[in-house]
């Protein structure tokens, strides 16, 4: 509690004690009035003061003014206890609101408190000095001790440790990191001292970009929020108008009809209206729900850029995915090696009776990395892979790198000469004096060599040795282990259509889609055609359902911004994606998409609960009050009690465990 709140609490306690005491003491007349003025002024002087200012500023529907009229009215009617109680409870409600809002503000701020305060720089003598991370130039080496937050993105130059990425990704299992591993700022170094060479400035570091995103996340308002502001604008004048009508019309009718006008009864009922006239419960609980929901989501590694996206996400019916990097790892890997069999002239993959197995031995054999191999090369050095690795050793193409990785050792470049890279086809070179060609079917054709097509789907690298076809290597992009679960979960959440877009060739795309259970697939698309495909799908969606596009953010920024909701996955490395996306998943696990939808649904459910609950109770109290069934005590509950309950309900949105 801050100073202001403490002062308020003391005033409330004093006024409460005085009120109860005077209510029990049998005093009459003006003494009683004077006695009750004590607690009334103690707890309500600021309300009266603000009411006066409101009159001066011509703000007739200022809630202080209304509260003042209601309570003074009650006192004039002789209901001293009620008059004091109403203002007392009003202040209790305001105090509770202020504490609850302040508390959730702080807890959400703490949630996102990933801002590193310093970076350690080591001098020649090994002494560490703490400097402002903003002052560390790119390429300097910083020291991160156990328990400290990594201040700037970089690469470990020495040391091993495990890293807690929970603050960024919501993933609670620590990640091991050693030399040459990249580390992301904002994570906590847990076990060992590491030296990190920074790869960017603090301002461009992951942690700075995320903080910027979170801090600016809130200026876009959702429909419920806009509805509530509009509602609040008409609600108060409407209730006040009704109160005035209630105070005047029935007694006047009574006068005309010649019966007892019953002024005091009707005025009392009108005053109860004024007590309920403040829309506070609604107005505070809706943004609080969204704020808590966005805070809870960021703790789970889902950054939502505004409550309008939260709302759109809760109504997702179509989810469109990019393939590479979203559903698949985006890393090419050798999946199979198929030699040409000298006897049959076919590749081993096509020869009958040749078994394939995945050998998982500990030997130095290049096949140990879980690659399909045929019986003929089991236990041998793989000539095909070795030659391909050597020829491709100078290239930085992802496929070349996958070949080298499968080769598994440092290529001896002195064995390779006459390297010629034929763009879009492959590479020819001389290895140990023998000409070798490694490339696609186009390369084989241009060399006049007949290539044997592979029975499997993927990228095929053909190898020819001394002008004769030797076999091919199958390279594939592995499907993420969580991808299948992600699609299933989306369907469970009521997503009616899943679509995959890819620039990859049709057979590969269809195989991936079939494996994952994706409804529709569009392949061989250029980036601009992806935008067109999304636009077509946008036209197909019906009713209130929205369309989300999930991509890894690499060259799909236009699609991200075109979809109703653009979800960038594992976007920690891509500025463009963070900029273009509406929702950023901190890690690249596709299961997080359904988690995000779950969080959004829960948040919106709470928002609507609060809207219906608060409006319902208020309307009920208004009707009962008009009929004279309830009194001011019920009215103050409708005002303060509802607010307290709505705030407590709103705070529930912070918890995302079961969303």
């Amino acid at each position: 509690m801050n100073k202001k709140q403490k002062k308020m609490l003391i005033r409330i306690i004093i006024a409460g004690v005085l009120m109860v005491t005077f209510a029990l003491v049998p005093i009459e007349g003006w003494v009683r009035f004077a006695c009750f003025m004590l607690p009334y002024l103690t707890v309500g002087y600021d309300v009266l003061w603000k009411a006066l200012k409101g009159i001066k500023n011509r703000q007739p529907f200022d809630e202080n003014f209304l509260m003042a009229v209601a309570t003074i009215g009650a006192i004039v009617l002789g209901d001293y206890t009620e008059g004091v109680a109403v203002i007392l409870f009003y202040q209790i409600g305001e105090l509770f609101q202020s504490i609850a809002v302040g508390k959730s503000r702080r807890s959400i701020a703490a949630l996102m408190d990933i801002r590193p305060d310093f970076a350690n720089i080591e001098d020649e003598n090994g002494n560490l000095t703490q400097v402002d991370p903003g002052e560390v130039p790119v390429g300097s080496v910083i020291v991160v001790k156990p328990g400290e937050r990594i201040p700037i993105d970089g690469v470990i130059v020495s040391g091993t440790t495990s890293i807690d990425t929970a603050a960024l990704t919501g993933e609670s299992v620590p990640r091991d990191a050693a030399e040459n591993d990249e580390v992301i700022s904002g994570c906590i170094n847990m076990t060992g001292v590491i030296r990190v060479r920074t790869t960017c400035e603090f301002g461009e570091s992951t942690v700075s970009r995320i903080l910027e995103l979170v801090e600016n996340s809130s200026s876009r308002k959702s429909k419920p929020e806009n509805f509530i502001s509009k509602f609040a604008r008409i609600y108060t004048p409407a209730v006040c108008g009704a109160a005035l009508a209630l105070a005047v019309i029935p007694p006047v009718i009574g006068l005309i009809a010649g019966t007892d006008p019953g002024w005091s009864t009707w005025v009392y009922r009108a005053l109860t209206f004024l007590v309920i006239s403040c829309p506070c419960a609604l107005v505070v609980s809706i943004p609080l729900s969204f704020f808590a929901g966005i805070g809870g989501a960021s703790r789970a590694g889902v950054l939502i850029k505004g409550s309008n996206y939260m709302e759109a996400l809760s109504r997702v019916k179509t989810v469109v995915f990019d393939k590479t990097g979203t559903m698949t790892e985006g890393v090419f890997e050798v999946e199979g090696i198929h030699h040409r069999d000298d006897k049959t002239g076919k590749c081993t993959c096509q020869a009958e009776g040749v078994a394939f197995s995945r050998e998982e031995d500990d030997s130095d054999h290049p096949h140990k990395h879980g690659i399909d191999i045929c019986d003929t090369c089991k236990g041998h050095e793989c000539k095909l892979l070795e030659l391909a690795g050597l020829v491709e050793s100078a290239s930085s193409h992802p496929i070349s790198r996958s070949l080298l990785k499968a080769y598994g050792r440092e290529p001896d470049r002195s064995r390779v000469s006459d390297v010629r890279e034929l763009s879009g086809k492959g590479i020819t070179a001389t290895v140990d004096g023998i000409p070798v060609a490694v490339g696609n079917a186009g390369l084989m054709e241009s060399l006049g060599i007949e290539a044997v097509p592979c029975h499997e789907v993927g990228t095929i690298v053909h190898v020819a040795i001394a002008g004769a076809y030797a076999g091919h290597i199958l390279i594939g992009d592995r499907i993420k282990p969580e991808a299948r679960e992600a699609i299933d979960l989306l369907k469970e959440k009521g997503v009616t259509k899943t679509v995959m877009l890819t620039g990859d060739i049709k057979p590969v795309a269809e195989r991936v889609a079939a494996d994952l259970g994706i409804d529709e697939v569009r392949s061989e698309l250029l980036p601009s055609e992806k935008v067109e495909a999304v636009e077509e799908l946008l036209k197909e969606r019906t009713g209130k359902g929205t369309l989300a596009f999930a991509g890894d953010g690499i060259n799909d920024a236009p699609v991200l911004s075109r979809a109703d909701i653009g979800i960038a996955m594992g976007a920690l490395g891509s500025d463009a994606a963070i900029e273009a996306a509406d929702i950023v998943l901190m890690d690249d696990n596709p299961v997080k998409i359904s988690k995000a939808i779950g969080i959004a649904r829960k948040c919106l459910r709470i928002v609507y609960e609060n809207i219906w609950f608060a409006i319902g109770i208020k309307v009920a109290c208004l009707i009962l009050g008009a009929l004279g069934i309830t009194n001011m005590w019920a009215a103050i509950f409708a005002d303060v009690g509802v607010m307290v309950i709505a705030i407590l309900n709103a705070i529930r949105a912070l918890s995302t465990k079961r969303a």
């Binding site: 200012k53 409101g54 200026s219 506070c280 505070v284």
Partner: protein, 72 residues
């Protein structure tokens, strides 16, 4: 031209009132108040004198809610 200001206000409805008052101020194209983040994002009309406009925004906000502050 958009600019974000830190604000201080106690109740959510007052924040809405501030938003309305700020939006109606001359020179302001659009104002959005975020009660939870205690921030006001003001989009100015082209060629508006920001310092002058913000003075009026504060004045108008004080009229609807006396107990508020904008840290200009």
């Amino acid at each position: 031209m958009k600019k974000t200001y830190k604000i201080d206000v106690d109740c959510a409805n007052c924040a809405n009132k501030m938003e309305e008052a700020a939006s109606k101020t001359e020179g302001v194209k659009k104002a959005v108040v975020n009660f939870m983040a205690l921030k006001m994002e003001v989009e100015f009309e082209d060629g508006a004198d920001m310092a002058e406009v913000m003075k009026n925004v504060l004045k108008n906000c004080k009229k609807v809610e006396d107990d508020c502050e904008i840290f200009i």
